[in-house]
Protein backbone atom coordinates (compact mmCIF):
# COMPACT_ATOMS: atom_id res chain seq x y z
CA UNK A 1 0.00 0.00 0.00
CA UNK A 2 1.34 3.45 -0.87
CA UNK A 3 2.09 5.97 1.86
CA UNK A 4 -0.78 8.37 2.46
CA UNK A 5 -0.60 11.83 0.92
CA UNK A 6 -0.47 14.33 3.75
CA UNK A 7 -2.19 17.69 3.48
CA UNK A 8 -1.83 20.35 6.14
CA UNK A 9 -4.12 23.42 6.26
CA UNK A 10 -2.77 26.50 8.03
CA UNK A 11 -6.16 28.27 8.23
CA UNK A 12 -4.26 31.50 7.69
CA UNK A 13 -7.16 33.97 7.69
CA UNK A 14 -9.06 32.98 10.83
CA UNK A 15 -8.42 32.19 14.46
CA UNK A 16 -10.66 29.15 14.67
CA UNK A 17 -7.83 26.62 14.77
CA UNK A 18 -5.77 27.01 17.97
CA UNK A 19 -2.42 28.54 17.04
CA UNK A 20 -0.45 26.18 19.27
CA UNK A 21 -2.06 23.13 17.64
CA UNK A 22 -1.41 24.15 14.07
CA UNK A 23 2.13 25.25 14.83
CA UNK A 24 2.94 22.02 16.67
CA UNK A 25 1.55 19.90 13.83
CA UNK A 26 3.52 21.87 11.25
CA UNK A 27 6.72 21.68 13.26
CA UNK A 28 6.42 17.92 13.73
CA UNK A 29 5.79 17.45 10.00
CA UNK A 30 8.90 19.46 9.16
CA UNK A 31 11.04 17.60 11.67
CA UNK A 32 9.87 14.25 10.35
CA UNK A 33 11.36 15.14 6.97
CA UNK A 34 8.53 13.55 5.01
CA UNK A 35 6.77 14.86 1.90
CA UNK A 36 3.56 16.80 2.48
CA UNK A 37 1.48 19.56 0.97
CA UNK A 38 1.01 22.68 3.10
CA UNK A 39 -1.83 24.97 2.09
CA UNK A 40 -2.41 28.39 3.56
CA UNK A 41 -6.18 28.11 3.49
CA UNK A 42 -8.17 25.22 2.09
CA UNK A 43 -11.28 27.40 2.01
CA UNK A 44 -9.56 29.80 -0.38
CA UNK A 45 -8.44 26.95 -2.67
CA UNK A 46 -12.02 25.68 -2.76
CA UNK A 47 -13.40 29.11 -3.64
CA UNK A 48 -10.84 29.40 -6.44
CA UNK A 49 -11.69 25.86 -7.69
CA UNK A 50 -7.91 25.41 -7.46
CA UNK A 51 -6.43 22.65 -9.62
CA UNK A 52 -4.33 21.58 -6.62
CA UNK A 53 -7.43 20.03 -5.05
CA UNK A 54 -8.02 17.98 -8.21
CA UNK A 55 -4.39 16.93 -8.12
CA UNK A 56 -4.79 15.65 -4.57
CA UNK A 57 -7.85 13.53 -5.30
CA UNK A 58 -6.51 12.10 -8.55
CA UNK A 59 -3.21 10.96 -7.04
CA UNK A 60 -3.44 7.27 -6.20
CA UNK A 61 -3.37 6.19 -2.60
CA UNK A 62 -4.93 7.22 0.70
CA UNK A 63 -5.24 10.83 1.82
CA UNK A 64 -4.80 12.31 5.29
CA UNK A 65 -5.82 15.92 5.83
CA UNK A 66 -5.14 18.01 8.93
CA UNK A 67 -7.71 20.82 8.84
CA UNK A 68 -11.07 21.13 10.58
CA UNK A 69 -14.44 19.31 10.63
CA UNK A 70 -14.67 16.38 8.19
CA UNK A 71 -18.10 17.53 6.92
CA UNK A 72 -16.70 20.96 6.03
CA UNK A 73 -13.59 19.54 4.35
CA UNK A 74 -15.62 17.00 2.35
CA UNK A 75 -17.86 19.69 0.84
CA UNK A 76 -15.05 22.23 0.35
CA UNK A 77 -13.34 19.70 -1.92
CA UNK A 78 -16.63 18.83 -3.62
CA UNK A 79 -17.31 22.50 -4.36
CA UNK A 80 -14.06 22.53 -6.34
CA UNK A 81 -15.19 19.45 -8.31
CA UNK A 82 -12.69 17.32 -6.40
CA UNK A 83 -14.36 14.36 -4.74
CA UNK A 84 -12.43 12.88 -1.83
CA UNK A 85 -12.49 9.06 -1.85
CA UNK A 86 -14.78 8.02 1.03
CA UNK A 87 -12.97 4.73 1.64
CA UNK A 88 -9.46 6.15 1.87
CA UNK A 89 -9.65 9.66 3.30
CA UNK A 90 -9.01 10.48 6.94
CA UNK A 91 -9.58 14.02 8.21
CA UNK A 92 -7.84 15.19 11.36
CA UNK A 93 -9.60 18.05 13.07
CA UNK A 94 -7.20 20.67 14.46
CA UNK A 95 -10.12 22.55 16.04
CA UNK A 96 -10.78 19.73 18.50
CA UNK A 97 -7.94 17.19 18.46
CA UNK A 98 -4.52 17.54 20.08
CA UNK A 99 -1.34 18.01 18.02
CA UNK A 100 0.03 14.68 19.33
CA UNK A 101 -3.09 12.80 18.34
CA UNK A 102 -3.09 14.38 14.90
CA UNK A 103 0.56 13.79 14.24
CA UNK A 104 0.30 10.16 15.30
CA UNK A 105 -2.56 9.66 12.83
CA UNK A 106 -0.77 11.53 10.02
CA UNK A 107 2.27 9.31 10.28
CA UNK A 108 0.41 6.07 10.78
CA UNK A 109 0.25 4.23 7.44
CA UNK A 110 -3.11 2.76 8.44
CA UNK A 111 -6.08 4.90 7.34
CA UNK A 112 -9.26 5.29 9.36
CA UNK A 113 -11.72 6.73 6.81
CA UNK A 114 -14.04 9.24 8.49
CA UNK A 115 -15.79 11.35 5.85
CA UNK A 116 -19.46 11.68 6.77
CA UNK A 117 -21.47 9.05 4.94
CA UNK A 118 -23.65 10.25 2.11
CA UNK A 119 -26.84 8.79 3.57
CA UNK A 120 -27.15 10.18 7.08
CA UNK A 121 -29.96 9.15 9.37
CA UNK A 122 -32.74 11.66 8.97
CA UNK A 123 -31.03 13.35 6.05
CA UNK A 124 -32.79 13.87 2.79
CA UNK A 125 -31.67 11.80 -0.23
CA UNK A 126 -28.39 12.88 -1.71
CA UNK A 127 -28.48 15.12 -4.79
CA UNK A 128 -25.16 13.64 -5.68
CA UNK A 129 -24.86 14.62 -9.33
CA UNK A 130 -23.06 17.63 -7.92
CA UNK A 131 -19.81 15.81 -7.27
Amino acid sequence: MSNPQIIYCHCAYAQVVPKEVKEAVLRKLCDANIPFEAVADLCELSARRDAGLQRIVTTTGPIKIAACYPRAVKWLFAAAQARLPADSTEILNMRVQTAEEIFERLLNPEVKPNLPASEQPGAKPNLSSHV
Binding site: H10, A12, P35, C43, Y69, N126
Partner: protein
Protein backbone atom coordinates in the same frame (compact mmCIF):
# COMPACT_ATOMS: atom_id res chain seq x y z
CA UNK B 1 -11.79 38.82 -12.82
CA UNK B 2 -13.51 35.95 -11.05
CA UNK B 3 -11.65 34.02 -8.34
CA UNK B 4 -11.26 30.93 -10.47
CA UNK B 5 -9.69 32.86 -13.33
CA UNK B 6 -7.00 34.45 -11.19
CA UNK B 7 -3.52 32.97 -11.43
CA UNK B 8 -1.88 31.65 -8.25
CA UNK B 9 1.73 30.74 -7.50
CA UNK B 10 2.63 27.38 -5.91
CA UNK B 11 6.02 26.71 -4.35
CA UNK B 12 7.88 23.43 -4.23
CA UNK B 13 10.56 23.06 -1.53
CA UNK B 14 13.18 20.39 -1.93
CA UNK B 15 16.11 19.57 0.33
CA UNK B 16 15.12 21.82 3.19
CA UNK B 17 16.13 20.57 6.62
CA UNK B 18 13.56 20.49 9.48
CA UNK B 19 14.02 23.77 11.37
CA UNK B 20 14.70 25.89 8.27
CA UNK B 21 11.79 24.28 6.52
CA UNK B 22 9.48 25.11 9.44
CA UNK B 23 10.38 28.80 9.55
CA UNK B 24 10.17 29.12 5.77
CA UNK B 25 6.78 27.43 5.70
CA UNK B 26 5.43 29.60 8.50
CA UNK B 27 6.31 32.73 6.51
CA UNK B 28 4.99 31.45 3.20
CA UNK B 29 1.75 30.13 4.66
CA UNK B 30 1.07 33.37 6.50
CA UNK B 31 1.38 35.06 3.10
CA UNK B 32 -1.14 32.72 1.51
CA UNK B 33 1.11 30.42 -0.51
CA UNK B 34 0.59 26.71 -1.13
CA UNK B 35 3.85 24.83 -0.60
CA UNK B 36 4.67 21.30 -1.67
CA UNK B 37 7.42 19.85 0.52
CA UNK B 38 9.11 17.04 -1.29
CA UNK B 39 11.98 14.71 -0.49
CA UNK B 40 12.62 14.12 -4.21
CA UNK B 41 15.94 15.65 -5.13
CA UNK B 42 15.09 15.95 -8.80
CA UNK B 43 11.59 17.30 -8.61
CA UNK B 44 9.99 17.89 -12.01
CA UNK B 45 7.05 20.26 -11.96
CA UNK B 46 4.09 19.30 -14.13
CA UNK B 47 4.65 20.53 -17.67
CA UNK B 48 3.07 23.85 -18.68
CA UNK B 49 3.18 25.14 -15.15
CA UNK B 50 4.70 28.58 -15.20
CA UNK B 51 3.02 29.13 -11.85
CA UNK B 52 5.24 26.67 -9.97
CA UNK B 53 8.42 27.90 -8.32
CA UNK B 54 10.83 25.13 -7.36
CA UNK B 55 13.29 26.04 -4.63
CA UNK B 56 16.18 23.78 -3.66
CA UNK B 57 17.45 24.33 -0.14
CA UNK B 58 16.48 27.27 2.05
CA UNK B 59 18.94 29.98 2.98
CA UNK B 60 16.60 32.13 5.05
CA UNK B 61 12.84 32.45 5.31
CA UNK B 62 13.04 36.18 4.44
CA UNK B 63 14.97 35.46 1.23
CA UNK B 64 12.54 32.77 0.27
CA UNK B 65 9.51 34.99 0.82
CA UNK B 66 11.17 37.72 -1.24
CA UNK B 67 11.88 35.25 -4.04
CA UNK B 68 8.25 34.08 -3.95
CA UNK B 69 6.91 37.63 -4.01
CA UNK B 70 9.13 38.58 -6.95
CA UNK B 71 8.04 35.57 -8.97
CA UNK B 72 4.42 36.17 -8.06
CA UNK B 73 4.51 39.70 -9.36
CA UNK B 74 6.45 38.67 -12.51
CA UNK B 75 3.86 36.08 -13.50
CA UNK B 76 1.04 38.41 -12.39
CA UNK B 77 -0.33 35.94 -9.89
CA UNK B 78 -2.77 37.02 -7.24
CA UNK B 79 -1.67 38.59 -3.94
CA UNK B 80 -3.27 36.56 -1.18
CA UNK B 81 -4.83 38.02 1.91
CA UNK B 82 -6.81 40.79 0.26
CA UNK B 83 -9.95 38.68 0.47
CA UNK B 84 -10.85 36.68 3.57
CA UNK B 85 -12.20 33.36 2.32
CA UNK B 86 -15.62 33.51 3.97
CA UNK B 87 -18.50 31.98 2.02
CA UNK B 88 -21.22 29.35 2.34
CA UNK B 89 -20.44 25.70 1.69
CA UNK B 90 -23.40 23.46 0.87
CA UNK B 91 -23.71 19.99 2.36
CA UNK B 92 -25.48 18.20 -0.50
CA UNK B 93 -26.17 15.21 1.74
CA UNK B 94 -28.67 17.44 3.50
CA UNK B 95 -29.75 19.98 0.87
CA UNK B 96 -33.23 19.51 -0.63
CA UNK B 97 -32.83 22.17 -3.33
CA UNK B 98 -35.60 24.27 -1.80
CA UNK B 99 -34.01 27.57 -2.97
CA UNK B 100 -34.63 29.43 0.30
CA UNK B 101 -30.98 30.50 0.36
CA UNK B 102 -31.11 31.77 -3.21
CA UNK B 103 -34.27 33.78 -2.51
CA UNK B 104 -32.76 35.14 0.67
CA UNK B 105 -29.32 36.31 -0.40
CA UNK B 106 -29.28 39.86 -1.73
CA UNK B 107 -25.67 39.74 -2.82
CA UNK B 108 -25.93 37.19 -5.62
CA UNK B 109 -23.78 34.54 -3.93
CA UNK B 110 -26.07 31.66 -4.96
CA UNK B 111 -27.09 30.48 -8.39
CA UNK B 112 -28.15 27.29 -10.07
CA UNK B 113 -26.16 24.97 -12.29
CA UNK B 114 -27.30 23.65 -15.66
CA UNK B 115 -29.42 21.03 -13.85
CA UNK B 116 -31.15 23.77 -11.85
CA UNK B 117 -29.39 22.68 -8.73
CA UNK B 118 -28.42 25.23 -6.11
CA UNK B 119 -24.75 26.12 -5.96
CA UNK B 120 -22.46 28.78 -4.56
CA UNK B 121 -21.32 30.75 -7.58
CA UNK B 122 -19.90 34.05 -6.40
CA UNK B 123 -17.96 33.18 -3.25
CA UNK B 124 -16.33 36.57 -2.98
CA UNK B 125 -19.66 38.43 -3.03
CA UNK B 126 -20.46 37.00 0.40
CA UNK B 127 -20.30 39.43 3.32
CA UNK B 128 -17.43 38.54 5.65
CA UNK B 129 -18.56 37.04 8.97
CA UNK B 130 -22.23 37.02 7.99
CA UNK B 131 -23.75 33.55 8.43
CA UNK B 132 -27.34 34.72 7.90
CA UNK B 133 -28.24 32.34 5.06
CA UNK B 134 -27.22 29.34 7.15
CA UNK B 135 -29.98 30.37 9.55
CA UNK B 136 -32.65 30.34 6.88
CA UNK B 137 -31.76 26.89 5.54
CA UNK B 138 -34.42 24.53 6.91
CA UNK B 139 -32.06 21.55 6.66
CA UNK B 140 -28.97 23.07 8.31
CA UNK B 141 -27.20 22.31 5.04
CA UNK B 142 -25.23 25.56 4.86
CA UNK B 143 -21.83 25.70 6.53
CA UNK B 144 -19.34 28.47 7.07
CA UNK B 145 -16.17 26.54 8.00
CA UNK B 146 -14.67 29.57 9.76
CA UNK B 147 -17.73 30.12 11.96
CA UNK B 148 -17.24 29.78 15.71
CA UNK B 149 -19.82 27.12 16.57
CA UNK B 150 -21.56 24.05 15.19
CA UNK B 151 -23.28 22.94 13.16
CA UNK B 152 -22.58 26.02 11.00
CA UNK B 153 -18.81 25.39 11.29
CA UNK B 154 -19.22 21.89 9.85
CA UNK B 155 -19.65 20.00 13.09
CA UNK B 156 -22.25 17.22 12.89
CA UNK B 157 -25.92 18.30 12.80
CA UNK B 158 -28.00 16.96 15.65
CA UNK B 159 -31.76 16.67 15.93
CA UNK B 160 -31.60 19.34 18.59
CA UNK B 161 -29.91 21.71 16.13
CA UNK B 162 -32.78 21.37 13.71
CA UNK B 163 -35.31 22.08 16.43
CA UNK B 164 -33.47 24.94 17.96
CA UNK B 165 -35.14 28.27 17.48
CA UNK B 166 -31.84 29.99 16.67
CA UNK B 167 -31.60 28.03 13.44
CA UNK B 168 -34.76 29.57 12.15
CA UNK B 169 -35.04 33.15 11.08
CA UNK B 170 -38.03 34.47 9.28
CA UNK B 171 -36.80 35.40 5.83
CA UNK B 172 -39.41 38.07 5.30
CA UNK B 173 -38.31 39.75 8.51
CA UNK B 174 -34.83 40.08 7.12
CA UNK B 175 -35.70 40.67 3.52
CA UNK B 176 -36.51 44.31 3.67
CA UNK B 177 -40.14 44.10 4.78
CA UNK B 178 -40.14 44.21 8.53
CA UNK B 179 -36.61 45.44 8.89
CA UNK B 180 -37.28 48.44 6.74
CA UNK B 181 -40.67 49.24 8.11
CA UNK B 182 -39.10 49.06 11.54
CA UNK B 183 -36.29 51.30 10.43
CA UNK B 184 -38.71 53.69 8.78
CA UNK B 185 -40.93 53.95 11.84
CA UNK B 186 -37.94 54.51 14.03
CA UNK B 187 -36.40 57.00 11.70
CA UNK B 188 -39.73 58.88 11.24
CA UNK B 189 -40.03 59.07 14.98
CA UNK B 190 -36.45 60.10 15.19
CA UNK B 191 -36.83 62.58 12.32
CA UNK B 192 -39.51 64.59 14.06
CA UNK B 193 -37.23 64.89 17.01
CA UNK B 194 -34.22 65.59 14.85
CA UNK B 195 -35.93 68.25 12.77
CA UNK B 196 -36.27 70.22 15.95
CA UNK B 197 -32.83 69.35 17.14
CA UNK B 198 -31.27 69.68 13.66
CA UNK B 199 -28.72 67.01 14.40
CA UNK B 200 -28.10 64.67 11.45
CA UNK B 201 -25.52 62.76 13.48
CA UNK B 202 -28.22 61.72 15.88
CA UNK B 203 -30.30 60.33 13.01
CA UNK B 204 -27.41 58.23 11.88
CA UNK B 205 -26.76 57.05 15.41
CA UNK B 206 -30.39 56.06 15.77
CA UNK B 207 -30.17 54.03 12.57
CA UNK B 208 -26.97 52.39 13.74
CA UNK B 209 -28.45 51.57 17.12
CA UNK B 210 -31.39 49.91 15.45
CA UNK B 211 -29.19 47.92 13.11
CA UNK B 212 -26.95 46.80 15.93
CA UNK B 213 -30.00 45.56 17.79
CA UNK B 214 -31.04 43.54 14.76
CA UNK B 215 -27.56 42.24 14.40
CA UNK B 216 -27.58 41.06 17.98
CA UNK B 217 -30.87 39.30 17.50
CA UNK B 218 -29.93 37.61 14.26
CA UNK B 219 -26.19 37.19 14.53
CA UNK B 220 -25.60 39.45 11.55
CA UNK B 221 -22.60 41.76 11.73
CA UNK B 222 -23.71 45.42 11.91
CA UNK B 223 -21.42 46.32 9.02
CA UNK B 224 -23.36 43.90 6.82
CA UNK B 225 -26.64 45.57 7.64
CA UNK B 226 -25.03 48.95 7.10
CA UNK B 227 -23.86 47.79 3.68
CA UNK B 228 -27.36 46.85 2.57
CA UNK B 229 -28.58 48.83 -0.42
CA UNK B 230 -31.50 51.25 -0.29
CA UNK B 231 -34.93 49.81 0.61
CA UNK B 232 -36.07 50.22 -3.01
CA UNK B 233 -33.07 48.34 -4.30
CA UNK B 234 -33.51 45.63 -1.70
CA UNK B 235 -37.05 45.04 -2.88
CA UNK B 236 -35.87 44.95 -6.49
CA UNK B 237 -33.02 42.54 -5.74
CA UNK B 238 -35.27 40.33 -3.65
CA UNK B 239 -37.69 40.13 -6.60
CA UNK B 240 -34.88 39.11 -8.96
CA UNK B 241 -33.61 36.46 -6.53
CA UNK B 242 -37.13 35.15 -5.95
CA UNK B 243 -37.79 34.92 -9.71
CA UNK B 244 -34.49 33.08 -10.18
CA UNK B 245 -35.39 30.64 -7.42
CA UNK B 246 -38.92 30.14 -8.77
CA UNK B 247 -37.61 29.42 -12.27
CA UNK B 248 -35.06 26.96 -10.90
CA UNK B 249 -37.71 25.18 -8.82
CA UNK B 250 -40.04 24.94 -11.79
CA UNK B 251 -37.34 23.42 -13.98
CA UNK B 252 -35.83 21.22 -11.31
CA UNK B 253 -36.70 17.56 -11.68
CA UNK B 254 -34.95 16.84 -8.39
CA UNK B 255 -36.69 19.03 -5.87
CA UNK B 256 -37.49 17.07 -2.77
CA UNK B 257 -40.15 18.25 -0.42
Amino acid sequence: MSLKDQKTLRLVLTEAPGAKRYHALQKLLEHGYTVTCTTETNFQAESNHSNVLVVTGVTSSENLLEQAETTRSQIEAVKHGEWKPWFPVIDYDRCTNCMQCLSFCLFGVYGVDQNHKIEVQNNDSCKTNCPACSRVCPEAAIMFPKYKTGPINGDAVTAADLDREKMKIDISALLGGDVYSMLRTRSERAQSRFSKERDPDKALKERQRCLVKLAEAGDIPPEVLMALPSPEEIIQRAEVAKAKAAAALQNSPQQIS
